[in-house]
Amino acid sequence: MSLPETLTQRLHAAAGAEEPQWLAGKRREGAAQFEAQGFPTRREEAWKYTDMSRLSGIEFGQATDSELDQALFEALRLDIDACRLVFVDGVFSSTWSDIDHLPEGLSVAPLSQALTSDQGSVSEQFGHLTGISFSPFAALNTALSNEGAVISIGKGKAVEKPVYLLFISRNRAEPVMSHPRILVRCEPESEATVIEHYVGEQGAANLTNAVTEIDMAPASRLSHYKLQEASQSEYHVASIQVDQRRDTNFTSHNLNLGGALVRNDLISDLNDENATVDLLGLFFGQERQHIDNHTKVNHNAPRTYSNENYKGILDGRARGVFNGRVYIKRDAQQVLGYQNNANLLLSDRAEIDTKPELEIYADDVQCSHGTTTGQLDENAIFALRARGIDEQMARGLLTLAFANEVMERIRHGVLTDRVERAVAGKLPDRFNLESLVEDTSL
């Protein structure tokens, strides 16, 4: 399918824009690559279960303003003490952002600003991990991205205050597309938390195509939260790649509750000894939601460790996709790799397509993966009902318990609360978390 006229024009314009030479070159390559590939179709193995070609049929505009009233802002945001950058349909909003009092050792700036001043060596970081060959979406982002965040955590600094990136999608007369690019640099022995939060107004049907590149210098630690609760008509694509050096520790919380068509690609490269990655994922699909999570852990060095746990709940006619790959390079010995994907189907019309992959070229390793797909345990429901809890409530409780294995790993009270409430809110009407909380407090 050919690309919409407006998109082709925008790609051509981006390729010829007046920009620093390094960026102009990347834009041209990205535009050419995307034009050659187009939106991926199911003919490609990586997109076997997720058809993106329908995006070709939509004329996405581009937002120029970051208008947002306070009521909406308050309703959507996480009430969290953090260094905050706010973007409305990809446009930076200085009104709602709050980066005036940055803790020592932390630098946070919108990409547009960093690009003009080449602050934080953006030219080195932009596209060096998530390049144009990552996926057609990464190529598209490279060609068109002009906003996002540039974050750097200084050597030896442990920053308590999280960096909070809030992306708000508005319900506009015509849908728009945005291509945020987030560059994170963790200097040696630093520690930080980054939260990417994607939300939207009811009915927003925009395309968000984010790219996150994370460089982790030796002995740095990073907790990365991605909470995606866009509207049920939003298109959301995220491509995340992490370069982990010696003794680094990366924890990813990939929480997907919203969106009509969602695709996350997450790659962690364990490039030196004793690098550890923890991938946690939760997705809850309802109605006709389609949520696709692709993860890849590359054990490129000996004595590297990975642990992955993705849990999916699917109701209505929702479809979930999980593809997790663990790759162990030749001679990357004494690696531990563990992967688990558990799925709960709540409806007969829901579907899950899961593929946990192992690709192993070293012998002295311990790798395993497991996946299960099933329904709630009838015995457990019976046990609860025998104690006077009605069936709906019992089902809700057990579903919440299923998700809890991932939720309990969230280390921020505000975030935990938000996710728990969101999950509970998706359960049948008669399931009332509030009343439950009151009951138990008695």
Partner: protein, 480 residues
């Protein structure tokens, strides 16, 4: 209209081809309509069979060789292959065991193959291969008594055309995939089995005993039909390494199980894997599929794959009948430069269907192997159950083991479980054995056999014993 015209053209061309070739027993290398017509003519096939082959050939022409498997091999020149050759004349074969490659004989020795069988396996021209005539005769009599049909596929096409026509290509259609299409066009050998309603086949059927089996075809086609409440256990291949001049093998196996029928299909594949650099090994591209057509039917695949340079093989089950059951037990061992991409597909269509997959992969030397499988549960197949276990063992640091399990689950009343592990033989396990006076090589062989136990116990008794010996021979030289 277009297809009609094409068929006419096809018919015209083969006529010319077959006139020139009819006198000879071997067609020159190359593949076109005339080759197919020649094969069909040689086999004395009816017109419908020839049409069927040509249709498959036309589909094959439009297809491209699959490239998704985790395999690396040079492109195959299909025009350089001779698609039909008559059995070798006795004077062309080695006249005694002295003329046979000593390495091959050494392997026979290790496997404990009786002397008189070695000659037959090595292709030595002996008048009475072993006491096969009498064995075969009693065998045939017993089968006939039970009403079981067991013959070569060519014979079946001539003798039981209605039966063959009813079932051939219904499980693996001619255009199913590239290699199946090629096989459908040019197959020359294979078996046909029909077990009538209510009959339990009185003995295990084996290609080993089938008349005419001495010359196993390069493009085999096997069709097994089990009627209502019938049962059969079928063995394919044997543990002895077989030399074969044909590098490309593309077999198709179709199983049909009607209501309450049970087919157990066991394979031991030990084709020549090539030399240390992987030169000259067999390319084995096989399409095997069983159709659990009737309610409560059951198909069980068991395979031990140790040979071939390239293995591309996914024995599958279509679980169409309600409460039907599919099983797949596999041991794949690769050494040297062997590459294997193998696994299964379990397609749950009927209600309350169940499937079990147990796959054990052992990679040594510079070999690579992959488990590739699909478990698909259709929305209608409620109450379905799958359990999958794939374990890989790596021996040495130059090999690779990969797992690519696909699961597509379409309803909420089914339970699917999948587990996979990859590890090596533990140093502590080896130490334990060695401290008790067991040599390292024996210890490895013992541990590997233990690793494969779940699969070996599914094999018929005599096969299981041979398979264990085979495993140690295959892994020879991979330790230390």
């Amino acid at each position: 209209m277009a297809t009609e015209a094409m068929e006419q053209l096809a018919r015209r061309e083969y006529k010319q081809g077959f006139i020139t070739d009819i006198e000879s027993d071997t067609v020159p290398p190359g593949l076109d309509e005339s080759t197919i017509a020649f094969i069909s003519q040689k086999k004395g096939e009816p017109q419908w069979m020839l049409d069927w082959r040509l249709e498959a050939y036309h589909q094959w022409l439009k297809m491209t060789s699959p490239s998704w498997a985790h395999l690396d091999y040079p492109p195959i020149d299909y025009q350089a292959i001779s698609y039909f050759s008559a059995p070798k004349k006795p004077e062309d074969r080695p006249q005694s065991l002295d003329e046979v490659d000593p390495k091959l004989l050494e392997t026979y020795e290790k496997l404990g193959i009786p002397l008189h069988e070695r000659a037959a396996l090595a292709g030595v021209a002996v008048d009475a291969v072993f006491d096969s005539v009498s064995v075969t005769t009693t065998f045939r009599e017993k089968l006939a008594e039970a009403g079981v049909i067991f013959c070569s596929i060519s014979e079946a096409i001539r003798e039981y055309p209605e039966l063959v026509r009813q079932y051939l290509g219904t499980v693996v259609p001619p255009g199913d995939n590239y290699f199946a299409a090629l096989n459908s066009a040019v197959f020359t050998d294979g078996s046909f089995v029909y077990i009538p309603e209510g009959v339990t086949c009185p003995m295990e059927l084996s290609t080993y005993f089938r008349i005419n089996a001495a010359n196993t075809g390069q493009f085999e086609r096997t069709l097994i039909v089990c009627d209502k409440r019938a049962q059969v256990s079928y063995l394919e291949g044997c543990t002895a390494p077989q030399r074969d001049e044909n590098q490309l093998h593309a077999a198709v196996v179709e199983l049909v199980a009607l209501e309450d029928a049970y087919i157990k299909y066991s394979t031991v594949q030990n084709w020549y894997p090539g030399d240390e650099d992987g030169k000259g090994g067999i390319y084995n591209f096989v399409t095997k599929r069983g159709d659990c057509r009737g309610d409560r039917s059951r198909i069980s695949w068991t395979q031990v794959e140790t040979g071939s340079a390239i293995t591309w093989k996914y024995p599958s089950c279509l679980l169409r009948g309600n409460e039907s059951k599919g099983e797949f037990y596999s041991v794949a061992v690769t050494n040297g430069r062997q590459q294997a991409d193998t696994g299964t597909k379990m397609i749950h269509i009927g209600k309350n269907t169940s499937s079990t997959i147990v796959s054990k992969g052992i990679a040594a030397g510079k070999s690579n192997q992959s488990y590739r499988g699909l478990v698909k549960v259709s929305p209608r197949a409620t109450g379905s159950r799958n359990f999958t276990q794939c374990d890989s063992l790596l021996i040495g640091d130059k090999c690779g083991a990969h797992t690519f399990p696909y699961q597509e689950i379409g309803n909420s009343r089914s339970t699917i479980e999948h587990e996979a592990t990859t590890s090596k033989i533990g140093d502590d396990q080896l130490f334990y054995c060695k401290s008790r006076g067991i040599s390292e090589e024996d210890a490895v062989s013992m541990i590997v056999n233990g690793f494969c136990k779940d699969v070996f116990q599914e094999l018929p008794m005599e096969f299981a014993v041979e398979a264990e010996a085979l495993l140690s021979v295959t892994l020879e030289g991979s330790v230390g």
